[in-house]
Symmetry: C2
Subunit: 189 residues, 2 copies
């Protein structure tokens, strides 16, 4: 691989796509944690100049936002089932993505500008589902907050534990204890 100077690449060489950058960024995040994901490290891994990333994303926060979008855009409530089961399904889907990428969770939570987007949508989905389940608007909002806050708190615990021992075997009970708590909450709902 000969070194390339500055200038637009010729058309036959395949382009550096944003999605390639995102997937490599996620790989670094999963492997090395939040501190391992630097613009320079990402560029090196993709094989491009650090500044090229800025052509596709406004800045580091923009990159993280895009990363969060790409991961959480798949989180939706199941289409069938009784409303209560759909609530459980939505939270479970959300939590499942969190478990897959603990360091991404930490990145989202530690950067104020990254957080709101996906959390707002999921909260609003949840509120709608709770109303469909027969709760009053007030109680839907109350329980929406309870469930989302509980999920975020649990996610945080997982993310922090994960950062502490990257590349060690994951603690085997995180998923179960979350589900137990969620079931208990749904009973009270």
């Amino acid at each position: 691989m000969t070194k390339r100077g500055p200038g637009r690449p010729s058309a036959n060489t395949e382009a550096v796509s944003p999605s390639k950058i995102l997937s490599e960024a996620l790989a670094i995040l999963d492997a090395k944690g939040l501190e391992g994901l630097t613009m320079r490290a990402l560029a090196a891994r993709v094989g491009i100049n650090p500044m090229t990333i800025y052509h596709h994303f406004v800045d580091r926060d923009g990159l993280t936002r895009a990363l969060a979008d790409s991961v959480y855009s798949a989180v939706h409530p199941p289409e069938d089932g009784d409303p209560r089961a759909r609530v459980a399904g939505l939270i479970a889907a959300y939590h499942s993505e969190v478990l897959k990428h603990p360091a991404l969770t930490l990145a989202i939570f530690s950067r104020p500008s990254v957080f709101p987007g996906h959390a707002r949508r999921i909260t609003s989905d949840l509120n709608k589902l709770l109303e469909e389940a027969g709760l009053s608007p007030d109680r839907s909002q109350l329980w929406g907050h309870i469930l989302v806050d509980y999920t975020h708190g649990a996610a945080l615990a997982v993310a922090l534990a994960g950062e502490h021992n990257l590349s060690q075997s994951p603690s085997p009970n995180t998923g179960d204890s979350f589900d137990d708590g969620l079931n208990e909450l749904l009973k009270a709902l």
Copy 2:
């Protein structure tokens, strides 16, 4: 104030105490958020050389740990009252400190090495209280996790909102909605 060169300060000049450094650090955190708290900015505010901080704290994480300790060491369950009320009191005390220093919450949550200390103690206090309230050990642990995770999730929401608009008027409903959720959870307990 004449500039001082290197060397130990004379005895009549009052010492730079760790607690002074901590209180100024907390002031910066409250005023400028997590990103405003740098070793250099803190040193400038205290009026000392950045490296002097390292005489009192091992590194930036150590400083943050000490900060968290100084704030959260006052969080304990009330000594009287029925066990359920003491649970509520402990969680409320914890949450109250969180509300006072949103950026500290964020600092704790984003640094894996800072988090565990105070959270573990509070969780263990909580578990004991729940057993005193008559719950089985299993259910005490389950509800301990639920309550702590809920509190952390809610704290996170406050912290992130606070970082977004530092020095603006705080959102007036954060405290109430937390208490509403907590009451609902305690009913189900």
